[in-house]
Amino acid sequence: MNCHNCKRELCIVKESSNYTKIECPEHHATVFYRDSKILEYNLLWDADMHAKERFWINAFDDTNYDNYYQSVKRYGCNFLIGTVILKCAYGRPYKIDKIFELNDFIPLEIMDNTIQLNNLVPRLKKLKAFI
C-alpha cells in the first residue's frame, strides 16, 4: 500500500496478534489492519497548502480490537466506531486540536495500491466550510 501524499510504500512498524501497523516513512499515513481488513487509519490532509491548513483524520473501528488502550487514545472520543478530525500546526504535527468527531467509520479507498482521498476530501471540504 502506498501513501496518498508522497506515494511511498507504507512499511510494517508493528505486528501483534491483534493487528499489523504500517506507516508511511514520512508519517503521512498510518494503517492498522487484521486479516486484510482495515481497522484504523490516520491520514494527514493538507487542505490548503497556501494557507498552511493541515488536518489529521483518524478513523477507527474499535469493536475489532481486544485491547483497551486502543480506545483511550482517541483524543477523548467515546465512540467505538468513528472518525476524528484534528487540526494540526503546519510543520508541527504533534500540536493538535480536535475539531470534529463523527460516530461513523469512513472506509479507506485504495486504488492501484495507493490510498485515495477521493471519497473523503470533498465531504471534508464541505464540512470545513460549515464548521
Binding site: I99, F100, E101, N103, D104, K126, F130
Partner: protein, 118 residues
C-alpha cells in the same frame, strides 16, 4: 419563581420535570412552538440550548453547548424533550470550538446538509 423566555420567540418556557434531570441537578425548559430546549444548571446558568427537528421520520437534536461544542444527536425513541439517556440518544457528530448558532428557522436546512454529506 423565575420565568424564562424563549430566546427565539420570547414566549414563556415550560419546565420539564423528570427524575433524570433531578439526578443530574439540572433544570430543563422547553418552548413548544420553537421545539427548543434549554438546560440550566442548578444555579440558573444556561448550559446548553437544543433544537428538535423531524426529518425523514427521524427526530434529531441539535445541541449548542456554551463551551463552544456543537452536537447532532439522533433521538431514537422521542417521547418528550429533556432526555439525555445514551440508550435513547445516538450521537452522530460533535464539533469543537464552534461559533455556529442556529435558529429554529435555519436548523432544518443545516441538519439536512449534514445528513447528506456524512
Amino acid at each position: 419563581m423565575i420565568v424564562f423566555k424563549c430566546k427565539y420567540c420570547s414566549r414563556d418556557l415550560n419546565q420539564i420535570d423528570s427524575d433524570e434531570n433531578k439526578r443530574i441537578n439540572a433544570k430543563v425548559f422547553y418552548c413548544e412552538s420553537c421545539r427548543a430546549e434549554y438546560l440550566f444548571t442548578s444555579n440558573n446558568i444556561l448550559a446548553s440550548v437544543s433544537m428538535y427537528v423531524t426529518f425523514n421520520d427521524r427526530v434529531y437534536r441539535w445541541t449548542e453547548i456554551n463551551n463552544g461544542k456543537r452536537q447532532l444527536w439522533h433521538v431514537l425513541n422521542f417521547k418528550s424533550p429533556g432526555s439525555r439517556s445514551l440508550s435513547n440518544n445516538k450521537n452522530i457528530f460533535s464539533i469543537e470550538n464552534s461559533t455556529i448558532n442556529l435558529t429554529p428557522e435555519t436548523v432544518i436546512n443545516k441538519i439536512k446538509f449534514y445528513i447528506q454529506i456524512l
